[in-house]
Symmetry: C3
Subunit: 135 residues, 3 copies
């Protein structure tokens, strides 16, 4: 269920972008324990002028390979979030050659009743989807 | 007040897109009971590679007519949300020929103090807008 | 830390867009008291058909210079938000010639644990960033 929006700078090939999305999804599946078909991803490529990122004074270099991952999810435990940050940074480094200093993540949480996956129904409320299947 | 962001795949005509936005707005007005001029919509058209959607294992086919509706709103009762999901699915089917299996919705809530509609003021806090007018 | 997404209509020059982003960042730094290098901005330019905005019946004219500022931030006091709305409206008017009737803001809050600025770590949780530095 999470909706995952990924922001990058223009310049990657189609294959690189697909790899990035696949690796991001694997990390979400692993850290949040969602079903593999729980995939909803939006990819946005930006001109350098349209995605401005510094480092909050943390002393991290940001390169043209910077990735911002924005996630909307129902409530997750802190441990799952910390796990996701580690998993994303490690996987992007190993699988996509992205330095961990170029991986930023921001999560916004909502509730079970805030999702309809189709058919006009709220599947977490109707019971078609249960916590045990998606948490 | 809701900010409504609508994601679709490229391929619709300008008229189809305008119709989609109008129908989505009507559904929000009906289900949330907001004023007709409470309209703030962003439409994003994506390449197939840039909007990846599966079905969380619910057995729903997603076609090239898939629509993801993301809504930011102040707090709404559950009944209004469930009504919105039904209304969106029904209206998109009747008015736009979109199958209900292609209609996904995600809501994020914020508070009255989180909105400024202009003039540097928070109109829900100043009293220029009241709950009775917009709920 | 806030992630600031700015929506405008197409038609501004590159210099105007950069000025807009700079002025928006100054306002966030001033109103929220974040470090100057706490800058994460996404700029989205839209066709007129793809950004539809009315006025919730408040009697405000919206022009082609309309700006919607969407902010994701950890929790801020109400006074800081009201200050941000005023500062944005005033600065956009003085520095960019945008009428305050064309400046809309929407804020969504999350928590300290919802941010990783890089390195796979949640810097507000590890203590690398503290409330005193960023509030």
């Amino acid at each position: 269920m999470p909706v995952v929006r990924i922001h990058v700078f223009k310049g990657r090939t189609g294959d690189e972008l697909q790899r990035l999305l696949d690796v991001a999804h694997d990390a979400v599946v692993e850290a949040f324990g969602v079903p593999r078909r729980d995939r909803y991803q939006i990819l946005e490529e930006h001109e350098k002028s349209h995605l401005q990122v510094l480092d909050t004074g943390l002393g991290m270099d940001r390169s043209e390979r910077f990735v911002l991952v924005e996630i909307i999810s129902r409530v997750r435990p802190r441990t799952a979030k910390l796990d996701l940050y580690e998993t994303l940074a490690r996987s992007f480094r190993i699988e996509c050659g992205i330095d961990p200093s170029d991986v930023m993540v921001s999560i916004v949480e909502n509730s079970d009743e805030d999702w309809s996956f189709g058919m006009g129904r709220a599947q977490f409320i109707t019971g078609e989807l249960t916590a045990s299947r998606t948490d």
